[in-house]
């Protein structure tokens, strides 16, 4: 059962990822991105990260992709891009070489590495009997409280920055 879930969700993730980088139309790329995000959410559920799966769907698929679609529609850049020409000569073969080298090294690292672990469950055990949400919340509001407060400042800064960036420049005074 686990294997079936993993294989199906993994196939969805990879198909969506290829769709993002191969679709000519940015709108199709965004929709393929939703597919990938749902696949990753399924993999989160399969690994007992229920809260993160919900947040993944709500924040990523619900908010971020909608923001992408808003910008695509707002700017009218939803026309198909010509992918047949290579504007920078030899870039695609170079990118393919880099991709193959990177995947080779990462897989080799995954297969061959000896994973040394330090103290087990430094910040709360997953299998302690409490629900995933309870454990996550306790860890977030004790060990990681300062980082949590810092993210609130980060969000305020991001909102102010977005407003400043998106504002039209003032008309010059005559």
């Amino acid at each position: 059962m686990d294997t079936v879930v993993f294989l199906v969700a993994g196939a969805i993730v990879l198909a969506g990822a290829f769709g993002v980088i191969l679709a000519r139309n940015p709108v199709h790329s965004a929709l393929m991105l939703v597919m990938t995000l749902f696949g990753v959410a399924v993999l989160f559920v399969a690994q007992e990260a229920h809260f993160l799966a919900a947040v993944q769907v709500i924040v990523y698929a619900g908010a971020i992709v909608v923001l992408f679609l808003f910008v695509i529609m707002l700017l009218g850049v939803d026309k198909a891009e010509d992918l047949s020409t290579d504007p920078l000569g030899g870039q695609r073969p170079a990118a393919a070489v880099v991709a193959v080298a990177a995947i080779g090294m990462l897989v080799l690292l995954t297969v061959r590495a000896v994973q040394v672990t330090g103290a087990p469950s430094a910040s709360g055990s997953l299998s302690g009997g409490d629900s995933n949400l309870t454990t996550l919340g306790r860890s977030l509001f004790t060990d990681y409280l300062f980082a949590f407060e810092a993210t609130s400042a980060l969000l305020v800064i991001a909102v102010v920055g977005a407003v400043v960036l998106a504002r039209r420049p003032k008309e010059p005074q005559r």
């Binding site: 993993f6 790329s29 990753v40 393919a96 977005a162």
Partner: protein, 101 residues
């Protein structure tokens, strides 16, 4: 046949590489941004996998923070893209080389 930790890690590596090569190849700044999201998701998957493998909630907490930072990054990045494309419509990443030294 049971799903091993390394399966998830290999899948995350594939996802990361697809995102990275898309970032290298594509020209549309919005699609490049989506490729960055793919790479962030690959790293999130790695964190959740290790959280389960090491029986430690810390990995999931990091994913939570990555989600917050990704949301903030998308807001600011799309603001910059909107500002650029309003000035020169149809700009690709090659047209925005003014900051090149």
């Amino acid at each position: 046949m049971t799903v091993d930790t390394s399966w998830y890690l290999v899948l995350a590596a594939l996802l990361f590489t697809i995102g990275a090569s898309g970032l290298l190849v594509r020209r549309n700044p919005l699609v490049m941004f989506m490729c960055v999201e793919l790479m962030l998701n690959a790293v999130n998957l790695t964190f959740v996998t290790f959280a389960r493998a090491l029986d430690d909630i810390g990995g999931q907490v990091v994913v939570f923070f990555v989600l917050v930072v990704a949301a903030a990054e998308v807001v600011v990045g799309l603001g910059i893209i909107v500002a650029i494309l309003r000035r020169q419509p149809g700009a690709t990443a090659d047209d925005v080389s003014l900051l090149r030294g």
